[in-house]
């Protein structure tokens, strides 16, 4: 921080704005919760929440929509972090919802789409009025137009044509019973900002983000790591490759990328030089159509 010029660095400014958003929600909305996936964005979000209320603990619970298709490192990480912070963890289980007949497994085996009703059920059951999500506007075209406070009707739906104007640092979180607000404190962060911040703050992230030699196979031009949920089909030979994960999603369809980045510094360098977006590189689910994300958001997804 260059105090003498009274000018904040980009990371300090982003941090200050995110902290402002956390405090605003805690002050104005009754039952917020923080959506935690174990991915880098939700990890940074949790750190910012910790800073916003220090030295008091984070005044709201953490919600994990558990697809059942988890990378084991990520679950371990979740439990450790939650214990360190002393926050409440609420788990909404997709497997449990399937068993209860609330949702049905899709033929593809991906649970990305069916996690939306599970999320909405958890919101309703716990009467959460606001959910913090780690989405960033640089991730995807539909998100580039979403507000920091994103209003959702009683069905959890997003209406892109009916968004509330957001001016200065004033946010309108007024809702009627049953409606809710999705809040995106990382709206203005880029993937590079997130990694620079993780480096600067020395934040721990699950080991799958670091490159090491893993057993992989190739499918649709992407590399998939062999794990409990992701097995090669006939004609998909496996091989050893130095890879890491750029995003953490449903383990059945999150691909790895070839990489030598086995430290935070190297990841920052890699992200600064990369020519492919994180979703384009690693997420089978976003390739479905041009408007895949917009459609899922309208249904109530983040």
């Amino acid at each position: 921080m260059t105090l003498h010029e009274y000018q904040l660095s980009q990371l300090d400014l982003l941090e200050a704005e995110s902290v402002h958003v956390f405090r605003e929600v805690a002050a104005e909305l009754e039952r917020p919760a923080l959506l935690f996936s174990g991915g880098k964005d939700s990890i940074v979000m949790l750190r910012l929440a910790e800073k916003a209320f220090w030295p008091a603990p984070i005044p709201f619970p953490v919600l994990h929509v558990d697809t059942g298709h988890n990378f084991p490192e990520v679950l371990e990480f979740r439990d450790r972090r939650v214990a360190e912070l002393g926050v409440n963890l609420v788990v909404a289980s997709v497997q449990d919802a399937i068993d209860r007949g609330v949702v049905r497994e899709e033929p593809s085996g991906s649970r990305n789409r069916i996690q939306t009703p599970v999320l909405l059920e958890a919101v309703e059951k716990n009467r959460f009025s606001a959910l913090f999500g780690g989405a960033r506007r640089d991730e995807e075209k539909a998100r580039a137009k979403e507000r920091v406070f994103s209003f959702r009707d009683e069905f959890g739906q997003w209406d892109p044509k009916n968004q509330r104007p957001e001016l200065w640092n004033i946010y309108n979180g007024r809702i009627h019973l049953g409606e809710s607000i999705r809040v995106f404190p990382l709206s203005n962060w880029t993937e590079l900002d997130v990694w620079q911040y993780i480096g600067r703050e020395n934040i721990d992230v699950p080991s799958i983000y670091y490159a090491r030699e893993r057993e992989v196979f190739s499918r649709d031009g992407m590399l998939f790591g062999v794990n409990e949920f992701c097995r090669p089909r006939d004609g998909e030979p496996t091989f050893i490759e130095k890879v890491r994960y750029r995003t953490v999603g449903d383990a059945t369809l999150t691909a790895a990328v070839q990489s030598d980045a086995d430290t935070i510094e190297k990841i920052v360098e890699e992200i600064a030089a990369t020519r492919i977006t994180e979703r384009g590189a690693t997420r089978g689910d976003d390739r479905v159509s041009e408007a895949a994300m917009e459609d899922r958001k309208r249904e109530g997804y983040f």
Partner: protein, 430 residues
């Protein structure tokens, strides 16, 4: 491509962040300009470019339509229009940039107002062949109304006027004449060709007569640190931190984002609206005490005396206070179909304070194209700008908007729909 566009890792500690808004229509080449800035700073990724190329081909466009990069929603792609403010990001080794890309048409005035509210700089685009049109003047007016500190008039499509210095000088002159009616602290006019990249990243060889900076060079170097108000201490209390733990049993911290001035331990301060004075015992963040804190840092302040301080209160200096006023004169941009009419009651949100407000008087409507004041109007419609007098249920701790954009700005909310329906810039509070 020159040095500004290299992809070396930006050094973290010397990089600041600048927000700018762009106004203009597709015809002015706004999307091409944004596409060019993103492309030349290597912020467009291969898969994004491929997707745009694919869509362009499917639609039968003759060239790769960079405008598609900035269309986020299905309706926008289908109709070839821009509906809403879109935020885009790029960085050079000097600065990180946030672009608020706002649609230019008059029916989207509210979106431009929204984008301009947080902007350090605005780029208004004009087509060199057409010169200034009604829309250019409207955009410049909104930039001045929202008090964006820096304005760039980008005279685009210079390639289509044979790189003519005369054409450029005429447009600059016309604009300077109009700008005297506005309050624009810093104006820069740059001749460009977004399509060919002239004067975007590096100086154009086609226009040797132009001696100023390229657009990107200007964006990287314009001084924004002194745009914030560092004189008037304004700290709206956002949240009170009282840990229920033995370690911090007596801790009471007032958290918030500094809206103006510099805060230090030991400073004498006054808390409004109570008027009690005390001293700052500590200014801190989760990373520890801070020797000086300034706008727009988010900090926590501890006071020497135990006072009753809550959200919505304002910490300032005893001899430099905002007004505590229930009668507010303001310029309002109206943002919804249902008109604003005198007598109407609304919720008002100003800094961290909420109250109710009644529209006592609609003084005039401003024609955003001619700046003509119409005092015969009886209502403000969607996208209208007018001056109103409000009476609030509780005093607002407010400054004139021209003095402080944070303590001078407010939003109006419809209490039945909960929609944000108006944005206000305080002209006087008293």
């Amino acid at each position: 491509m020159d040095t500004a566009a290299t992809t070396t890792t930006p050094p973290i500690h010397h990089m600041d962040l600048m927000r700018f808004a762009t106004a203009g229509s597709v015809d002015d080449g706004k999307s091409t300009l944004i596409g060019r800035l993103l492309f030349d700073s290597k912020s467009i990724f291969n898969d994004q470019l491929e997707s745009v190329e694919r869509t362009s081909q499917e639609r039968g466009d003759e060239y790769t339509n960079l405008a598609l990069l900035t269309d986020g929603l299905r309706a926008e792609r289908e109709q070839g229009i821009t509906i809403d403010v879109a935020y885009r990001y790029f960085a050079t080794p000097r600065r990180k940039f946030v672009i608020a890309d706002t649609p230019g048409h008059i029916q989207y005035t509210r979106n431009m107002v929204t984008g301009a509210s947080t902007a350090d700089l605005a780029i208004v685009l004009v087509d060199a062949r057409k010169g200034l049109v009604e829309q250019s003047l409207r955009h410049a007016f909104i930039v001045s109304l929202l008090r964006v500190p820096h304005l760039v008039l980008a005279v685009n499509k210079m390639d289509l006027v044979d790189w003519s210095e005369e054409v450029f000088e005429q447009i600059s002159h016309d604009f300077a004449c109009f700008a005297t009616k506005l309050d624009i602290p810093d104006l820069t006019v740059i001749p460009i060709s977004a399509l060919y990249g002239d004067n975007i990243v590096s100086r154009s060889t086609n226009m040797p007569w132009y001696e100023g900076s390229s657009l990107l060079h200007h964006l990287e170097h314009v001084h924004i640190a002194s745009d914030r108000n560092l004189v008037d201490v304004r700290f709206p209390v956002q949240y009170v931190i009282r840990p229920q733990s033995l370690q911090y049993a007596d801790y009471r911290g007032y958290a918030g984002t500094i809206a103006g001035g510099v805060l230090k331990k030991g400073d004498e301060v006054m808390v409004l609206p109570s008027g009690f004075t005390t001293r700052i015992a500590e200014v801190e963040t989760a990373d520890g005490p801070v020797s000086e804190a300034f706008a727009p840092m988010s900090v926590t302040v501890q006071l020497e005396d135990e006072l009753d301080v809550s959200r919505g209160d304002m910490i300032c200096r005893p001899h430099n206070r905002p007004a505590a006023a229930q009668d507010i004169d303001a310029m309002v941009c109206w943002m919804t179909d249902q008109p604003l009419v005198p007598g109407q009651k609304l919720a008002i949100k100003h800094t961290t304070r909420s109250a109710r407000a009644m529209v006592k008087e609609l003084q005039y409507k401003l024609d955003v194209n001619s700046l003509h004041r119409d005092d015969t109007v009886t209502q403000l419609g969607l996208n209208d700008v007018g001056r109103v007098r409000l009476r609030t249920t509780a005093p607002l701790l407010a400054d004139e908007y021209r003095r402080n954009r944070i303590t001078g700005g407010f939003v109006l909310i419809d209490e039945s729909t909960n929609h944000t329906v108006g944005a206000g810039m305080i002209s006087s509070a008293g």
